[in-house]
């Protein structure tokens, strides 16, 4: 290689590096702005219902977006991702009830537990082919669910963790106060989304996309596919667990339904509803599904029937998520404008 070529190479490398840096700054700014807007929301709308809704969005949104890291970015269709949601809720709830440690300690400890469990389950699952992967993750979800049901002395069985989760104040934050919990949930949501977006845009994130599109090619150029899949499986589990922790704080308890397979099914559907090709698709899907759920349960007791028909409409009729349509519409509009101009 001549000196000139090397010089060119260095220049070519410098530009993406600079771009990455500006993008990182832009992401951080957007995240901060979103957080400020969300935090100021209660000063404008004082509705308790709205705050509750946003807290639930934060819990499910983190869960669904982390599932998209697996489904949309890596092509790993996990049908048992809900187990980490349940694990987070139960881990945190039990930690607070049994040991009485401060909230941040319990938070970190729950994530550590999730890390270990996800590492073990992931190590077994990620080498399997797609449909096997889907079902074996589902089987693990059912194992965790049945363990929760049968270990009555620890988990309270089908009654769930009752008697409330103690939430002692720390650093001036009192999570039993709805407003404090709201701001904390928003902060966790925004930080979580920011981190996940960083992961998705990192070189590692692009490695994942490559594995999704052609795993064999990725392994030929020297990528350890198994290790990359396991890494993202564990990372996604941590964010899902954070969602579960928010949920446990919100309802001040944990119930076996949090670890039931329907949570995973809903997560997949949220992704479908919002679209897996955009980062924010699952977040949009979360808001839509929660609104849909709330409306349907108010109107009819046959909640599954209505939800099932909506899913069919999306899966067979549209075959795309809502955000996919928005992106397409935007691209087309820009194209048209380009032709005219």
């Amino acid at each position: 290689m001549t000196e000139l070529q090397a010089d060119q190479g260095a220049q070519a490398l410098e530009i993406p590096h600079a771009q990455a840096k500006t993008q990182r700054n832009r992401d951080a700014l957007i995240a901060l702005a979103v957080f400020v807007v969300l935090a100021l929301l209660p000063t404008v709308f004082s509705s308790k219902l709205l705050l509750d809704f946003v807290i639930r969005c934060a819990a499910y949104g983190l869960f669904a977006t982390s599932l998209n890291l697996l489904v949309g970015y890596t092509g790993l269709i996990s049908f048992g991702h809900g187990m980490f949601f349940g694990l987070g809720a139960y881990g945190f709830g039990l930690m607070m009830q049994k040991t009485g440690v401060p909230v941040p300690v319990a938070f970190i400890a729950t994530l550590v537990i999730t890390f270990v469990v996800a590492l073990v389950i992931g190590a077994i699952c990620v080498r399997l082919k797609e449909i096997y992967f889907a079902f074996v993750t589902l089987a693990f979800q059912m194992l965790i669910h049945s363990t929760i049901l049968s270990w009555v002395s620890l988990t309270g069985g089908d009654q769930g963790l009752r008697g409330g989760i103690p939430r002692p104040p720390f650093l001036g934050i009192d999570l039993s106060n709805q407003l404090h919990l709201y701001v904390a949930s928003c902060a966790l949501l925004v930080i979580g989304l920011y981190l996940m977006h960083r992961i998705a845009q990192s070189p590692f994130g692009y490695t994942l996309r490559m594995i999704r599109d052609n795993a064999m090619r990725a392994s030929f150029i020297g990528i350890d596919v198994w290790r990359a899949k396991l890494t993202i499986f564990v990372l996604a589990a941590l964010f899902a667990s954070t969602g579960g922790i928010i949920m446990a704080l919100f309802v001040s308890g944990a119930y076996p339904e949090f670890a039931y397979w329907t949570i995973s099914g809903e997560g997949i559907f949220i992704n479908m509803l919002g679209g897996v090709t955009t980062f924010l698709g699952p977040m949009v899907g979360t808001v839509l599904l929660l609104i849909l759920n709330d409306t349907v349960t108010r109107l009819t007791e046959y909640h599954g029937l209505v939800l099932g028909i909506v899913i069919l409409f999306f899966a067979i009729g549209l075959r795309k998520g809502l955000m996919d349509f928005v992106v397409e519409w935007y691209a087309q509009r820009r194209n048209n404008a380009g032709e005219r101009g």
């Binding site: 269709i77 077994i124 449909i131 889907a134 079902f135 089987a139 997949i268 479908m272 939800l307 099932g308």
Partner: protein, 300 residues
């Protein structure tokens, strides 16, 4: 954990016989569901995630037919035939639309139907537990084999399931239709180029799979309680069976189902709280040592 109970049982022939028959009952019902699942996967290359619903419908159809007619044979027939028709409609109208699509779409369509079917059952038969009751013909004194208690109905159940396994195995291996089905599993494009209606084969195989699950549900109706959502745990267990036995293998499904049945019946003695866990543990051991299952072929 109660290892004394387990070793005590293994030492007594009476307990051994009782537990083995109850393991076989669980295993045979699972086999009928799992073999349909594995057949549909082998030919259509989709995993019918709503397969448990066919088991549920089979049980409910049988119960209604039995209550209306009082005939046990007619109840079995209704359970099997009703789910076969349901399977045919389900495949032709909905599943056939997502064959080309990715696994996510197939899972979603099935997920939608799990929700819909459970609610339909809740609407028609109500949300509470139902029971069909043991037909009068089988309300006789149980048999005693080596001191163990074996109700005659259990023998019928095992017999029917084994007969279904034999007919299915021989039918696929020896008859013309069986040959066509195997060919369609191998190369559907070529089969259809030879002038055979593959759509009909797909629909037929799905109906057959649904019928087997429905038959399992009908056979289970006198001995299990009926509730909306009863199919889901059966689905998970039969999926574990196919993973252990190997996707697409009938013999594998039979062996896997019997192993799971025995693990459940003996495990409930030794590890009452961890019976389900044992099942998953066994699956994990098989998966780690033989990822394609005990009888599965290496897929390219």
């Amino acid at each position: 954990m109660d290892l004394d109970a387990l070793t005590g049982c293994l030492a007594s022939s009476a307990c051994l016989v009782t537990q083995t028959t109850s393991g076989f009952i669980i295993g045979m019902l699972l086999f009928l569901v799992a073999v349909g699942l594995t057949l549909i996967f082998g030919v259509l290359k989709v995993v019918n995630f709503s397969h448990g619903a066919f088991y549920m419908f089979g049980a409910y159809f049988a119960m209604t037919a039995y209550q209306l007619s009082g005939s046990f044979a007619l109840a079995m027939l209704c359970g099997a035939a009703g789910t076969a028709i349901l399977g045919l409609i389900f495949e032709r109208v909905f599943m056939s639309r997502v064959y080309g699509a990715d696994v996510l779409m197939q899972l979603l369509v099935c997920y939608a139907f799990v929700l819909i079917f459970d609610d339909v059952v809740r609407m028609i038969w109500g949300p509470e537990f139902k029971s069909m009751g043991m037909p009068a013909a089988f309300q006789v004194a149980p048999l005693f084999i080596a001191g163990g208690v074996v109700p005659p109905y259990y023998l019928l159940l095992i017999g029917v399931a084994l007969a279904a396994a034999m007919i299915l195995g021989l039918g696929l291996a020896r008859t013309r239709i069986g040959k066509v089905i195997r060919a369609a599993a191998h190369n559907p494009g070529m089969v259809s180029a030879l002038g055979i209606n593959t759509g009909l084969i797909y629909g037929g195989v799905f109906a057959l799979g649904g019928m087997l699950a429905g038959l399992a549900g009908a056979l289970a109706a006198p001995v299990r309680s009926l509730t909306p959502g009863m199919g889901f745990s059966v689905l998970i267990e039969s999926f574990i069976v196919t993973v252990i036995g190997g996707m697409g293998s009938i013999l594998g499904a039979l062996i896997g189902a019997l192993l799971i049945g025995l693990i459940r019946s003996f495990g409930s003695l030794g590890f009452p709280l961890f019976t389900e866990g044992l099942m998953y543990l066994f699956m994990v051991i098989v998966l780690v040592s033989r990822p394609t299952g005990l009888f599965g072929k290496e897929v390219a």
